[in-house]
Symmetry: D2
Subunit: 295 residues, 4 copies
Amino acid sequence: MLSKSVIELLSMNHQSPFQVFANLRYAVFQRSTLLLNIHALPSHNQRLSNESFSLTSGAGCDIFQHGASEKRSARIDTVDLTELSITYEVRVETNPDAREIYDTRQLPITEMELSTLDYLFPSRYCESDLMGLLAAKLFGHIAHPLAQARAISDWVFENIDYVVGSTGGATSAHDTLTQRAGVCRDFAHLAIALCRALSIPARYFSGYACNMQPPDFHACFEACVGNRWFIFDPTRLSSPNGLIRIASGRDAADTSFATIFGAMEMELLEVSCTAEHFEPLSQRTLEGKAILLEP
Amino acid sequence: MLSKSVIELLSMNHQSPFQVFANLRYAVFQRSTLLLNIHALPSHNQRLSNESFSLTSGAGCDIFQHGASEKRSARIDTVDLTELSITYEVRVETNPDAREIYDTRQLPITEMELSTLDYLFPSRYCESDLMGLLAAKLFGHIAHPLAQARAISDWVFENIDYVVGSTGGATSAHDTLTQRAGVCRDFAHLAIALCRALSIPARYFSGYACNMQPPDFHACFEACVGNRWFIFDPTRLSSPNGLIRIASGRDAADTSFATIFGAMEMELLEVSCTAEHFEPLSQRTLEGKAILLEP
Amino acid sequence: MLSKSVIELLSMNHQSPFQVFANLRYAVFQRSTLLLNIHALPSHNQRLSNESFSLTSGAGCDIFQHGASEKRSARIDTVDLTELSITYEVRVETNPDAREIYDTRQLPITEMELSTLDYLFPSRYCESDLMGLLAAKLFGHIAHPLAQARAISDWVFENIDYVVGSTGGATSAHDTLTQRAGVCRDFAHLAIALCRALSIPARYFSGYACNMQPPDFHACFEACVGNRWFIFDPTRLSSPNGLIRIASGRDAADTSFATIFGAMEMELLEVSCTAEHFEPLSQRTLEGKAILLEP
Amino acid sequence: MLSKSVIELLSMNHQSPFQVFANLRYAVFQRSTLLLNIHALPSHNQRLSNESFSLTSGAGCDIFQHGASEKRSARIDTVDLTELSITYEVRVETNPDAREIYDTRQLPITEMELSTLDYLFPSRYCESDLMGLLAAKLFGHIAHPLAQARAISDWVFENIDYVVGSTGGATSAHDTLTQRAGVCRDFAHLAIALCRALSIPARYFSGYACNMQPPDFHACFEACVGNRWFIFDPTRLSSPNGLIRIASGRDAADTSFATIFGAMEMELLEVSCTAEHFEPLSQRTLEGKAILLEP
């Protein structure tokens, strides 16, 4: 049975731990504050070890995970530095799981967990409020919300070109729908907007992706069905079993890996995420299934 | 041969003349100027007779057809009127013609008539510059530009809902693409933008439509292939052999039936366009063909 | 001393309690879910009594205040009703306070409370990411962030016309900036976007407003300075001492008073908020000061 | 009399002729068509001599000035070239003139020349239809339309930052109004939109500018008052007496210096415009006056 084999693949897999490494360097032109979202998020299915985070001495820093927030942020004060370097390393073990799409429970909005309701509404880069008719026309005939989310991910992959440099920080799902090009962030925003337009809670996933070429921070999306969050990568540049979560949020505005308050300029960005043995899941293996990063 | 039969239908048809009637009334709050584009445009294939245009006495008016412009505009000065009524009547004979789509010559841009080149560029409501990839993805596989124009008209019909009140004066093709609803003007704008994105000159057609329900001014679009302008109605609310041209232009900004400079408010708009005998062309009859309003 | 007098006015005032009343009626065309944000939010400075919330019998309903969320939402299941009526009543005592603008502590981002950081980022209707230069040009010369927030509120009041019906559910701050007309929601969105563009956390306030004409739900904004939230009404239709909070959020997407999932249509909306004695604060009295709804 | 002195300056000045030079080189990846608008436009006040236009042998080319169009376009067929070079040189004498702003006749719309009416309407990059209220608020108190146009030019200069690379080909006046940064094209678009919103016909001027740093094609705008077109440069990077017209149009969509149909990539762009003696007009000299390039 194909289905079983995926679950087996995932559960058996004793996946090798991932080794994550990030190195950032900034020129600092005046005392500034930097908000960084680059720490892997510890969770039931994402166990961290050997974590180290170091920055140029002289900088102030607090690391926090606020309230309901699904991220660990570092707030860095450059004090009197003129150059700021940051190095982050961590070893991560994850434990993704697979579900048969049509076996997943569908819940009416009245039974959705309260924490998921916020993800039904439009956000800066996901104008789901404009896309009700479109989403209904494209995906309304599909019977199951998880199948809809999967179809949305596939549709975005098939209809949007991955073109580095084609978009910018102000590009939203509405733009991408017309322009049909973008990068991982734009793919995720469009898929999220289409899910929400169908009343499926959907959120932005920011993280590291094993062996991605070229190595960089990555963005995907999660859709909530049956009060569980399923992960999809509409770019198909990563495999869901190679993803490490940094943050969940409504869109890139919530989870941006670096936000500068002041005057700084990035001079270097190195990211890597590797594993001793890593077996990506093929599209074929994923047929009819959806992957959970958390239980 | 089906093709012949359409041409016969059109050439034989000795179509009854159309009787056009428009009645507008405005409350005038201060001396204002009204630019009206409601006169049928005389041309080789659109013969006018019994034309009358009358307005409340006291108003000033000049009617002009400027330069290359494809419209007859009335410029009305309300002087000291507090109410302005306008009545327009005309009898129109048209002589549409049909062509086999794949028999139409394709011309490279270097052989296009100079007058058509302006219609390759984006305009206020037709952001063709944003839609190159989209148009290529949807229609790039179609070999012939006239077949592309036809496919665009069909795609707009199939993918956009006609919903009165869903859009406003600022709605553009980019908006309609996301929102998937609009009225005749929005359908035309989107089709024009998609044609231009494929380097097919395309223009806005504003006119009267025989027996349209509810009666109103109507908008369609024309695509230029082989230096001839072919008409399409992506709303399918009119039949191309029942159309009477008021104006051609880049989009509704060029051809708006009424523009107020000052302070006036429309109180009444009545339009009618009828014929003693009128036989609309079915979609089936139009299969594989495209209609020309002018030679 | 003028300043003292305001504080006295507010503290002495033993403001009469407000009596809030809302009545909504919907036609229901299929089983639907309605999310309502119309409950006043209990808090240190907003004491509720005699609260009643009733709806047509047969409907299912749960009322919840989720996690960090600053609202009490009602989630209503219409089950088999064809008409749904909702009545809400509550008696509210508030205790607003005043501060001298220039006495308020300014805090760098590194000392802001974590819960306020989310309100630095752009949201669906507040594209602060586009307005950095504009905000710096208009308000950058003002030395104190609370004075900036006050100046933003005044600027929005002076530069935007309050025009009922001029905007819709998709209108954002970017639109309002160009179109210069809107309603309370649009005024709040624009002010919020401008604050965030200056790195001042700002949030949407949705609530009831005493004696507002015509009576309706109202929207204002709060800016966070010195880790305290100060309230401003850029429409000047309400007085800050007459405001009762329903919800705080990033923008109207978070706090919309009613969201329909399914097929329902509003048939009636009645809102009232009155007090036995109510003395609005004049713009003059507010000179140099800002008002806190919570300590 | 200051006014006289400007007119004298302009009429006396026996301005040295301008020497214009442009050099473009493209890599050609497939047979393509290039539409170029780089030829200076001959006119009453813009006399051309020693004109030469040469391109890589093997390319096809026709140069045309179509109908009412205010530009000379070159339509180039790359045939089987893999590289295309274009060189354009011309010697130009211009004869700008000055008028006292408040001496210029104001004409109601009913007396405007027909050819100017098209420039009252919105276009791709100039959404004047969205800016009626804004323009009235900012400039409605100014009594004379030419003074309004001058004030608009000044306002754009003072409120928008000239930032190379801040905008792209899709940026419109609505965007620039919010983002407050742009290049010459954006400055012109915003000024045009604001003029049209006040019912002043306004058009895009594309041309060469004497001694501009860095040398490049330049864009300004013209406003029509009293049926005469007055030139303004809201960037203040050029002086009106140093401008040489390539094209007039509704906006950059009409007058883009190069449009590619096919697959080509620009590899080189050199522009220069110099004169033996050139005396730019100072802002002070221009006080109270406006400059005409044509009678």
